[in-house]
Amino acid sequence: MINDSMVLFEVFIRSRRGLDHKHVGSVHAEDSEQALEYARDCYTRRSEGVSIWVMRSEDITASQEDDSESFYDPSDDKPYRHATYYKLPDAVNNM
């Protein structure tokens, strides 16, 4: 039973020092402290983590599928934005 006062949190875990926090899933909890404990119980029991972040799912502003034309298509005809577009002079050899 998930009661009304429970909020959905997204969980991010950094598995090793030097790596980024990675999204691993979500938990329901009453507040962020409790979310942190549940994140620990649900996602780090096999010692996957050195650091956990939780944030309210509702605080995420996400791009929509419908936006994909305006978001990503304009890049398709601008190949010069990719490094592979440029031919290296032979003198440079391996960069």
């Binding site: 429970m6 009453e30 649900c42």
Partner: protein, 254 residues
């Protein structure tokens, strides 16, 4: 270690093992019955911590045993009267408030008991305690949180918490009593002198209860007997559940 010393250390180790196993089993009863999925997983994790701890104690008991007993023999083939757990561990799981209050009382107790056991002259017991204390710190964080949340929550949750506290309080006195066997081991620097932990436990628990707007009951009744093998009727039922597979398929492996 001579034979008598081995036997007393074995008896003491079994007591600690029985405490962990019986409470761990009670907690597994929440698995698939938790109030919601996240808490279900969290409680099952705590249960696993206790059962893991019980296994370490039983394995050590098996090592000390003169007649080649195994950890399974201790867990599955002893009857009620041979179990030496403190009574508070065997009481039925009750509602969620009841289970959380019991965890709070035991977690605060363990948070003081295990650091002392870490200083035991028995190196194995000290090592098991060192592993257990980290788990206990986390358990206490959870049970303290729940006590505050439910005690200072709705009228209904407050009422259930207070009821749980009142019905468990009389079982807490036994935590701080030593019989002859433990007194003897305290003198040898092996067992923990739990009589010395009571004042600190009370201060800690009273602080949390006050913060949670809950009342500490009067000390007007006490139940004891677990360390001598005198149990409530609940342990027998628990053992039939826990032991029947092993007893009906002796030596079964899966």
């Amino acid at each position: 270690m001579n034979e008598t010393a081995k036997q007393t250390t074995l008896d003491y180790t079994l007591r600690l093992a029985d405490d962990s196993l019986v409470l761990g089993h009670r907690l597994t009863e929440w698995t698939s019955n938790g109030p919601f999925l996240e808490e279900d997983i969290a409680l099952s994790n705590v249960a696993l911590d206790y059962i893991g701890r019980a296994r370490m104690y039983y394995a050590y008991a098996a090592e000390l045993s003169a007649d080649g007993k195994t950890e399974d023999d201790f867990a599955y083939l002893r009857d009620e009267r041979a179990f030496r757990n403190l009574l508070i561990n065997e009481l039925p799981r009750g509602d969620f408030a009841y289970s959380m209050v019991r965890q709070l009382f035991i977690d605060v107790f363990n948070s003081m008991y295990l650091p002392k056991l870490m200083q035991s002259n028995d190196k194995t017991l000290a090592a098991i305690a060192a592993k257990g204390i980290k788990e206990t710190q986390y358990h206490l964080r959870r049970s303290r949180d729940w006590t505050l949340r439910l005690g200072d929550g709705t009228d209904e949750s407050h009422r259930r918490m207070q009821k749980a506290i009142d019905s468990l309080w009389g079982y807490t006195h036994e935590l701080f009593e030593l019989d002859e066997l433990e007194q003897q081991l305290v003198v040898q620097g092996i067992a923990v002198d739990s009589t010395k932990l009571k004042a600190g436990w009370l201060t800690h628990v009273e602080g949390i209860l006050a913060e949670a707007t809950l009342k500490r009951p009067e000390d007007d009744w006490a139940v004891r007997g677990g360390r001598s093998g005198y149990h409530t009727e609940n342990l027998g039922h628990l053992l039939t559940q826990m032991q029947f597979i092993h007893r009906s398929h002796p030596g079964c492996k899966w």
